[in-house]
């Protein structure tokens, strides 16, 4: 079963890359942007067919390795 997770910087953590991307978008004429935050996306194929269990496994991975909880939040966005 495939599980997807998104890791994003917490709100109060400065995201300089997001800021630069925002500036670039502005420069290209996308003037309607309020803010850009950059994150990471993981697609993990787990040997587990129960969606609840698969989600739990990936949550555990997120808290132990994929995200650094001092600065990042994670969200499981999809299981299929």
């Amino acid at each position: 079963m495939k599980v997807s997770a998104i890791i994003t910087l917490k709100k109060d953590v400065l995201d300089p890359q997001g800021k630069v991307i925002h500036q670039a978008l502005d420069g290209m004429g996308f003037s309607s942007v309020n803010e850009v935050r950059q994150g990471k996306y993981f697609e993990i194929d787990v040997k587990e067919n129960d969606p609840k269990k698969a989600k739990e496994i990936v949550e555990n991975m997120c808290s132990k390795l994929l995200a650094n909880l001092v600065i990042e939040d994670y969200k499981i966005i999809e299981t299929q």
Binding site: V13, L14, P16, Q17, V20, L65, L66, N68, V70, I71
Partner: protein, 227 residues
Amino acid sequence: MKSSVITFPGSNCDRDMDVALKKFGFKNNMVWHDDNELPKSDLVVLPGGFSYGDYLRCGSMASKSRIMQSVINFANSGGLVMGICNGFQILVETGLVPGVLLRNRYLEFICKNVFVKLHNKENIYFKHLDKDVLKFHIAHNEGNYFCTKDQLKEIEDNNQIAVYYCDDKGQIEDQFNPNGSIKNIAGIFNKKKNVLGMMPHPERMIDQSLSGEDGSLFFKNLINNIK
């Protein structure tokens, strides 16, 4: 005095550290990241470099490598562990020292000499050092020290700040902060002060003809303190 330098795939300051430790009297062992056991050591050093190609987050993969469980046990039993640059990034990923290292605030790799001010000398690393301001070298892309407000309060209450970025007179101001670190923090200790993580490289300042001697002062003092 025995020391161990851990080599991870992508470490590139491990041999510099080996040279520095031997120059000032340590019997140094190079230890491979995939080993299980740490040789008997008075000091363990996690060197600078780009362990595991900085995949995921700098230091994150190395912090899970096989030898690190022995290093963590060694640190938790009071052993001296020093992480320099990428070694500092590995230390924060293990949780041995609090906080994280973000990308430098202007998104550029910084390679230059800096001055650092010792916060206090009540620890085995800096005790008896004559100087308060040392000239070291930095070379990093992710050295922007960050921690939560609660962590910062705890770090300050426990006197865990090791060194600050400053000017040659020891003034700690934002204009002397190369990478955006909170409060100009360049290095911190764990609570017991047996674990030190810092971005600047003392091992690059051990020869007057190449760079400077402030690293020599640091290592000479360190081995005397450990004896």
